[in-house]
């Protein structure tokens, strides 16, 4: 068995808002008891709809945010409560890629300077930086003379390549990508997804890939975690999740996905109602308000994530 790089144990994040009246604070539970592990070289896809906590999870693992409770064991050390300065050496190894390549690049700096910035912070010499920047530009499929250009001279797909090059400068091991292709056109999205895969093979990278597009996640991932309102509701291999989903939410999500091939349309199942607000989470199983198979018990008993067959499922009714 491959070596474990990350273990997330019972991680929760509660945000306090100032929304309540008379100075009372509302509590939003963005993540609630999330646990999973990640082995070296694999890709874990995290899917879910707005407000399910998928982005919060990504930010917490990369310690852009601090969990309220729980452990994040990265290579044997708990990084959940590490201070900013204690995290700094680890930032080399854990990199983050954001959704919007337009907002992630400083418009007033040249691409070369943008790519070299992390290396400068980590104290690499000028010549070494320059050489590495050129090497990376080539690796992500950009022209050598991009070095002197500015972000506005690039299209969205090219900018995302710059962002990827910057993330690779310090030879990271774990890359957390939050919706890295959702701002791109379909034909460019395919190019960037291929690039992610090539780099993974070449540099033995481990990915956490957060996305809402079920086709994209299936393409890139080895395992998938499906989230709903701050919890993982199902976790398993791509094949199991897509071919044999167990949780009613996973089933509904997959059947809601618009299909190009309409021959299978009869199986379409449409959930009623909206996604509840994390501010006002339903009691018991948080999916019970929309679940097609819910029974009264579901509104009181909160299901645990447990192993059923080949996957982990959090549902009272799946046996």
């Amino acid at each position: 068995m491959s070596q474990e790089i990350l273990r997330v144990n019972n991680v929760s994040r509660i945000y306090e808002t100032s929304g309540g009246s008379f100075g009372r604070k509302n509590k939003v539970s963005a993540l609630d008891g999330v646990s999973f592990n990640l082995v070296h070289g694999e890709t874990l896809g995290i899917v879910g709809e707005s407000g399910c906590g998928k982005s919060t999870l990504g930010r917490i693992i990369s310690r852009l945010d601090t969990p309220t409770s729980g452990e994040i064991i990265y290579k044997g050390n708990d990084i959940a409560k590490k201070s900013l300065s204690a995290m700094r050496p680890l930032r080399k190894e854990i990199q983050f890629i954001f959704q919007d390549p337009y907002a992630s690049l400083n418009p007033r700096r040249q691409i070369g300077a943008i790519i070299e910035e992390p290396m400068r912070i980590h104290g690499m010499g000028k010549d070494e930086r320059r050489a590495r920047a050129h090497e990376l530009l080539e690796k992500v499929g950009l022209d050598k003379n991009s070095y002197e250009k500015y972000p506005h001279e690039f299209s969205g797909g090219q900018r995302q390549r710059v962002v990827i090059a910057r993330a690779l400068t310090l030879k990271p091991e774990l890359i957390i990508a939050d919706e890295p292709v959702s701002a791109l056109d379909v034909s460019i999205q395919a190019q960037v997804l291929n690039l992610f895969k090539e780099l993974q093979d070449e540099m033995k990278l481990t990915y956490i890939f957060v996305a809402h597009d079920l086709g994209v996640v299936r393409h890139i991932s080895d395992r998938i975690a499906v989230m709903y309102l701050g919890k993982i509701v199902e976790l398993g291999s791509v094949e199991e999740i897509y071919n044999n989903p167990q949780h009613p939410y996973t089933k509904a999500l997959l059947s809601a996905n618009p299909r190009i091939d309409q021959s299978a349309k009869s199986t379409r199942q449409i959930l009623t109602g909206d996604i509840p607000s994390p501010l006002n989470r339903p009691s018991g199983c948080s999916f019970h308000t929309r679940c097609p198979i819910a029974v009264p018990e579901c509104s009181t008993r909160e299901p645990e994530l447990r192993r059923i067959g080949a996957v982990d499922v959090a549902c009272n009714l799946v046996v």
Binding site: S187, A190, H212, I260, L271
Partner: protein, 326 residues
């Protein structure tokens, strides 16, 4: 053959900019019959939204030049005055935009929005208009419409706002509904609800729908006819089934292969279209797709004509005129 509801002929839209003339839409011609759903697909800058804004007379920019003809019920919309257009927009042709957050005025209630629409086009009392608003909200599946009608947009979720906008658009039984990326801002399960709603409404009212989208899946769910655009031109027009089974234009083929599909076996690599989408300021001569096209050859430096059959189905590519070469 059914009567044509909308017929667009040689529509061109260009904008003068400091960097030169941008030809956003070039010689677009198509038509749509009663009760039909036409999907317009393309990537950013392909001209899909601009062409529909032109049809609706929504382009007010003084640097814009619009030529061609747009026949709606036999009358050329491009020749109409603002006032005449206003009588048509909202009543006969309604539009649903992508972002339900910005399409509603935050300081007025949902009911006010629908009432405004009704009272602009018909003589209807406040009381009746409100009753009709409640009816419409109920029809688009908003729970508790008597209470919801007096709520403000911020009290609605994204999916509910889009429903409210659809309710507004439907308030006067339009003959044509233009939906510009109506589900792009929504989550998958909510998207499924909205697509289902549009389909149901089409059946009830026999309205025609033009749906603009970049998502092949959405097109496939809803439309019967598809028009593919690239760099301001129509590159292919077909029925949905033949387009997906047998795409003709190399761009359409490339586009379909680059979508990671849930309903197909997983591959390690996606097929891609090389290069970047064409910049409208700097289009290659001849076929705009030629520098990304795997089958480009010498003839492609000329602009290919759109070869179509009697139904208007066809593609703009030299491969079709020269017989099968690839």
């Amino acid at each position: 053959m059914a009567e044509k509801l909308l017929e667009v002929k040689n529509l061109c839209v260009s904008f003068k900019t400091r960097k030169g003339v941008v030809r956003a839409v070039n010689n677009l011609s198509f038509s749509i019959n009663h009760g039909e759903v036409l999907g317009i697909v393309g990537e950013s800058g392909s001209g899909k939204s601009v062409s529909m804004s032109a049809v609706m007379g929504l382009i007010k920019d003084e640097n814009a030049e619009i030529t061609g003809e747009v026949f709606f019920n036999g009358e050329d919309l491009l020749k109409k005055s603002d006032e005449e257009l206003r009588a048509i927009r909202g009543k006969d042709i309604a539009m649903v935009f992508q972002d339900p957050m910005t399409a509603l005025t935050p300081v007025y209630t949902i009911g006010w929005h629908i009432r405004e629409q009704l009272q602009l086009h018909s003589d209807i009392s406040d009381k009746d208009a409100k009753a009709r608003a409640i009816e419409l909200l109920e029809e688009v599946g908003i729970p508790d419409p008597e209470k919801r009608v007096d709520q403000y947009p911020h009290e609605f979720s994204g999916g509910m706002r889009q429903r409210a906008i659809i309710a507004m658009a439907l308030s006067l039984n339009p003959k044509l509904l233009i939906a510009d990326e109506p589900t792009t801002a929504l989550d998958v399960t909510i998207q499924a609800q909205i697509l289902d709603l549009l389909e149901r409404l089409r059946k009830t009212y026999n309205s025609s729908i033009i749906i603009i989208t970049h998502d092949m899946g959405v097109v496939s769910e809803l439309s019967s006819e598809v028009l593919v655009m690239y760099a301001g031109r129509m590159v292919e027009r077909s029925t949905k089934s033949s387009l997906f089974a047998n795409p003709q234009h190399p761009y359409t083929k490339g586009l379909m292969n680059s979508v990671p599909r849930v309903d197909r076996a997983r591959t390690s690599r996606l097929e891609t279209i090389s290069g970047q989408p064409a910049s409208l300021l700097n289009l290659p001569s001849g076929c705009a797709f030629r520098n990304r096209c795997p089958s480009a050859h010498a003839a492609c430096t000329e602009q290919p004509t759109f070869i179509s059959d009697s139904n208007g189905y066809g593609a703009a590519c030299f491969l079709l005129t020269e017989g099968v070469r690839s």
